[in-house]
């Protein structure tokens, strides 16, 4: 029983890891304050769930979930050429609302608030991932791959270009860089992985409804990115583990489940405040925004 709980926690950590690592690519590396990440997550979840329910093989569902999110990430990148900073953050919030209300109101496709039950567990070339342990192995492998891909992007000359755009977009333009293309690429890649995380979540829980993808859900993920440190992948990993486990610890000190939810939010807020005051660059971050 205890091990089942631990496996569940590890799977959750993996999903959060994919989400926060990919968010760090757009927020930490390219400096686009992207609060629409949860919408990409939801798009990936719904796309893959609908396809899986229609009998499409898992790997295709996973890929489609990523690609649909990626395409919408590219769409969201379109205004980044004209709109900057806080205003852009508002646009991404608006985007998140739009996707959320589509999930809620496109009853015929998404079944609205009733959600989509009975999503099949992953199966790859006949090998089913029915039990949680095998699912954990699958998602751990994918999470590792995501980590190395994002690390590779970050370390490449393209990654340095993203950081240049974050630090001073005009200066990057004056060096002849197409900063819009760089930001669009990073948002699209970041969205792709969020979509993958959504697809994995849907096939793990086997049920999704819009409430998992409301704007509020961005709070833990953006907190992880800031607390771990902008543009620091190890920091993101550390913060993901800590921020996922702390609220869980509350269960064992006897808090009633009715206040567990609010307590979680309070803890995130507290850690975020403390970090911003005492360690503005996050656990392992080197980046300071002006």
């Amino acid at each position: 029983m205890a091990s089942a709980y631990i496996i569940h926690l590890l799977i959750l950590i993996c999903i959060y890891l994919i989400l926060s690592l990919s968010l760090n690519l757009s927020v930490g590396y390219s400096g686009v304050l992207n609060l629409g990440h949860i919408a990409f997550y939801g798009l990936g979840a719904y796309t893959s769930a609908l396809m899986a329910l229609a009998g499409v093989p898992f790997l295709l569902c996973l890929l489609a979930g990523g690609l649909v999110a990626m395409f919408s990430g590219f769409l969201l990148a379109l205004p980044t050429d004209k709109i900057k900073g806080d205003y852009l953050a508002l646009v991404t919030v608006g985007f998140s609302f739009i996707i959320y209300s589509l999930m809620l109101n496109l009853d015929e496709v998404t079944r609205g608030p009733l959600g989509l039950p009975g999503i099949p567990r992953p199966s790859i070339f006949g090998f089913g991932f029915e039990d949680n342990f095998s699912f954990l192995i699958l998602i751990a492998v994918i999470t590792l791959a995501v980590y190395f891909i994002i690390q590779r992007i970050a370390d490449s000359p393209f990654g340095k270009l993203l950081e240049a755009v974050r630090d001073d977009e005009l200066a990057a333009k004056i060096l002849g860089k197409d900063t819009f293309k760089a930001k669009a690429f990073s948002l699209a890649i970041s969205a792709f992985f969020a979509g993958i995380a959504g697809a994995l979540y849907a096939s793990y829980i086997t049920f999704i409804d819009p409430s998992s993808f409301s704007l509020m859900q961005i709070i833990p993920i953006i907190s992880i990115v800031i607390i771990g440190g902008l543009a620091s992948l190890p920091g993101t990993v550390l913060a993901t583990i800590i921020l996922t486990l702390i609220p869980e610890a509350l269960r064992f000190v006897g808090f009633p489940s009715s206040i567990l939810g609010p307590m979680r939010q309070i803890i995130y807020a507290l850690i975020l405040l403390l970090i911003l005051i005492y360690r503005p660059r996050g656990f392992l971050g080197k980046v300071e925004l002006e």
Binding site: S156, E163, D168, A172, K173, G176, K177, D178, K181, A231
Partner: protein, 257 residues
């Protein structure tokens, strides 16, 4: 007929009711150092911003090698051969000196897949690595010539004002260009550094570089410049060789106002 690399013709720019640049025309001759001087608010930096595409032109022409660049994007103008240093530091503060300079060489870093795959599918001694090595070598040489080699791996936000200035000038130098524009390169730097920058500029000119600079320090300007253009209230009031400018009553009047 002068051999002008850059020609400004009847350039105009309004900001609300203020006419910042008013029918401004001048040329920058190839292989010379041209200085743009004038009192505060005379429109020098606005002219720089218009040339580099940072600010949109109201009317008039900016001809770079006879191509009108007046309505192009800053990145396009940069790729056509204009390199610029701003008045305030615009280094990528969280990147190191080397990374800042590395970004200036070319736009290869914009190619996502080539950048992502890199040497995974190439042998270590591939052309790409050699190119990277030679870039590093060029950076090392530049840093050494400025005596700031020890700064290479420092994040540029930790540099002093003068060091930032040097790195910015280097970055603009490395960025491929036909025309180098410097906005107050020696403002606020120590006398030693000023002499160093002066030496660098004169060496660059000897190598055939064309430089357009804005500078308030008259001594510095009149020593390095071959041609001086004086602006006041958005217009060119006088231009000529430094010796003429030094004693021109119009210039004295503009500065004493």
């Amino acid at each position: 007929m002068k051999n002008d690399i850059l020609k400004i013709e009847n350039l105009k720019k309004h900001f609300g009711g203020v006419l910042a640049v008013d029918d401004c025309s001048f040329g920058v001759e190839r292989g010379t150092i041209t200085a743009l001087i004038g009192p505060n608010g005379s429109g020098k930096t606005t002219v720089f911003n218009l040339i580099s595409g940072v600010t949109k032109v109201d009317s008039g022409k900016i001809l770079l090698n006879d191509l009108n660049i007046a309505h192009l994007q800053p990145s396009v103008i940069s790729n056509l051969g204009i390199s610029r240093v701003f008045q305030q530091s615009r280094l990528f503060g969280n990147l190191t000196v080397e990374e800042n300079l590395m970004l200036a060489f070319d736009n290869e870093d914009q190619k996502f897949w080539a950048s992502f795959l890199g040497d995974w599918w190439r042998k270590p001694a591939s052309a790409k690595d050699t190119a990277r090595q030679s870039k590093k070598q060029i950076i090392d040489e530049y840093l050494e010539s400025m005596h700031i080699t020890h700064m290479r791996d420092k994040q540029t936000r930790d540099l002093s004002f003068g060091q930032k200035r040097l790195v910015e000038i280097l970055r603009a130098l490395i960025n491929p260009h036909n025309l180098l524009m410097l906005d107050e390169p020696v403002a606020g730097v120590t006398p030693e550094l000023r002499d160093k920058i002066k030496k660098v500029l004169l060496e660059l000119k000897a190598k055939g570089e064309t430089i357009l600079l804005i500078e308030h320090d008259m001594n510095f300007t009149l020593k390095v410049a071959d041609w001086v253009i004086v602006m006041d209230a958005g217009q060119v009031i006088v231009e000529g060789i430094p010796d003429e400018i030094r004693h021109n009553p119009k210039v004295l009047e503009a500065y004493l106002d």
